[in-house]
Symmetry: C2
Amino acid sequence: MTTAAPAPAPSGRDLPHPPCEEIRLESVLHALSDPMRLQVVRELAADGGELSCSHFVLPVTKSTTTHHFRVLRESGVIRQVYRGTAKMNGLRADDLEALFPGLLGRVLEAAARQSDRLGGR
Amino acid sequence: MTTAAPAPAPSGRDLPHPPCEEIRLESVLHALSDPMRLQVVRELAADGGELSCSHFVLPVTKSTTTHHFRVLRESGVIRQVYRGTAKMNGLRADDLEALFPGLLGRVLEAAARQSDRLGGR
């Protein structure tokens, strides 16, 4: 019996992300079920690229904002990487599409429809 | 100024349901984000009709089961009605389709795909 060599210790600046095979539908739906997290996902989808955390001005404390981004990252919805001093966020749209075809698009459509209906964003 | 006549007191056996205009995407996604609730929804969708609460044998206590059905009802995902002594459950598929076209179908497809991938149900 052999044991695998230990993986290199991650740098303190490398944030953990689930590989595709560990992404679960229930966790993705949970991540999307919070109004603020859903708003972040809508903005990332509209942008199509990466946005820094400081781009988002949410009406909550900084630690709550950090929590929301962590839930999105740990569920596999977004990828967070440090670029210089900025923490950048991007949707894992391709990974989600491969796992759950059409799902993210329908959620985004539903969110847009609801915003129109309620007269909000 | 007049006051409306008081609404008739609901029967103790009438369960409260949100009207369509009060159903929120975030609450629907939250209701679907639990593995047991998602399983209940999948069974109701496969059946296409009404199933009694006692049809579902979930590996949790009766009070937890009742909680899961209440979350599904209060979010607008299912309708619960008493028929005789049985509490019957049906998906509000038409209401959800009108509010969020295609969403429930994509979630059900994603759930089936994930079950196939993980070798479970």
